[in-house]
């Protein structure tokens, strides 16, 4: 039987430190892509009940954009960026370098731009983590969803919920003061593969 590793407070603190560098790297990529300095708050790492995930940001019926990717390799998991709909429109203005208020609708082109942003942030985060723990991660292409927050976040629940009652959630927030780009950045490592990685590397 596989030995269980406890995700205690000490472990979560160490994970948070590693994640901070990853988020910092993702924020640099984000800043480079939009041509402005994107700040981030320090990420939190915590265990959350899987079924409560759709209620962690906003109300489940609110409209938002979710940019979702998975990663495989030495560690498997999911990355989700959640952006309120109005903020996503502003973000597209920044990405396309057009005046604020130009983008009114998220068509194929706009979704693709947001997908690229998620792809870049995810890759920058994973590259930083990979260097830190000497492991190899491969991200999937991003999926962009424009829908109710509840429906978007269900993806995370479905992927995790059949296996575990709790998910390890690393949560950060990207901000741009003047134009208040407000994006939640989540990383949800698969608990089994995280345990395997810890045993192999004594990474944390």
């Amino acid at each position: 039987m596989q030995e269980q590793i406890l995700f205690d407070q000490d472990f979560l603190e160490k994970l948070k430190t590693i994640a901070r560098e990853g988020v910092n790297n993702a924020a640099s990529g984000f800043s480079g892509m939009v041509g402005r300095t994107i700040r981030f708050n320090y990420p939190v790492a915590r265990l959350v009940p899987v079924l409560s995930i759709p209620q962690i940001v906003g109300r489940p019926e609110d409209e938002a954009v979710g940019i979702y990717l998975r990663f495989m390799g030495d560690l498997a998991g999911q990355i989700m960026m959640i952006i309120p709909h109005q903020k996503a429109l502003e973000l597209v203005d920044l990405l396309m370098d057009v005046p604020l208020g130009t983008t009114q609708h998220l068509g194929q082109l706009e979704r693709s731009a947001l997908g690229e942003l998620g792809n870049l942030c995810g890759s920058f985060f994973l590259n930083s983590m990979a260097g830190k723990v000497n492991a190899d991660f491969r991200p999937s292409p991003p999926a962009v969803m424009v829908d109710m927050i509840g429906a978007i976040l269900e993806i995370v629940v479905l992927t995790t919920g059949g296996i575990s009652e709790e998910a390890l959630l690393v949560q950060a927030n990207f901000m741009d003061g003047s134009r208040s780009v407000d994006a939640d950045f989540w990383v949800i490592p698969d608990l089994n593969s995280l345990q395997d990685l810890i045993k192999k590397n004594s990474v944390v």
């Binding site: 979702y68 109710m148 429906a151 978007i152 059949g162």
Partner: protein, 163 residues
């Protein structure tokens, strides 16, 4: 009117006319609505996955998380609340595939599997489905108005409509 939020892996049953049972933003999850129009006993299940994964033991005693056990639990709760099983009118909502534009979708169409699990379970229980509002690629909010047995669905950018 009092809205009762039926979250993931939950069910609610009511006969109070002021109650509205709501499952917000159903994506790949499936909502099962059952109403006895005579007693007005009404129930809503918000199931997440088709059935327990074989070989994986979680400490999960919650049958409403799974379509299979959840439907059976909903029928039992409604009968306990005074519904006549043979009068129950059943609707299913949800089961969307939210990841259609990406390469992730093939390995991940849990929405379709949830719909199939609902159909199979209801067929086994010999309970016909009167309305299906399922599939597609958008989230749905479902409301059950206990007072007059109305059931509505809303998607982003549209008004609430009766099904």
């Amino acid at each position: 009117m009092k809205e009762t939020n039926v979250g993931l892996g939950e069910q609610a049953v009511s006969r109070s006319p002021e109650d509205v049972l709501v499952a917000y933003g159903l994506g790949s999850c499936v909502g099962v609505v059952m109403i006895d129009p005579v007693s007005h006993a009404s129930g809503l299940l918000h199931a997440v996955l088709p059935k327990r994964t074989a070989g994986i033991s979680t400490n999960d005693a919650n049958p409403s998380k799974y379509v299979e056990g959840g439907v059976e639990g909903l029928v039992a709760a409604l009968v306990k609340a005074g519904a006549n099983r043979n009068r129950l009118i059943t609707r299913i909502v949800g089961g969307a595939n939210m990841l259609i534009p990406s390469g992730l979708t093939k390995s991940f169409d849990i929405g379709t599997r949830n719909i199939e699990a609902a159909r199979t379970t209801l067929n086994r229980l010999r309970m016909p489905i009167s309305v299906e509002e399922v599939g597609g690629h958008t989230g749905r909010t479902v409301r059950v108005y206990v007072a007059d047995s109305r059931v509505t669905v809303r998607v982003i950018g549209e008004k609430e409509r009766e099904i």
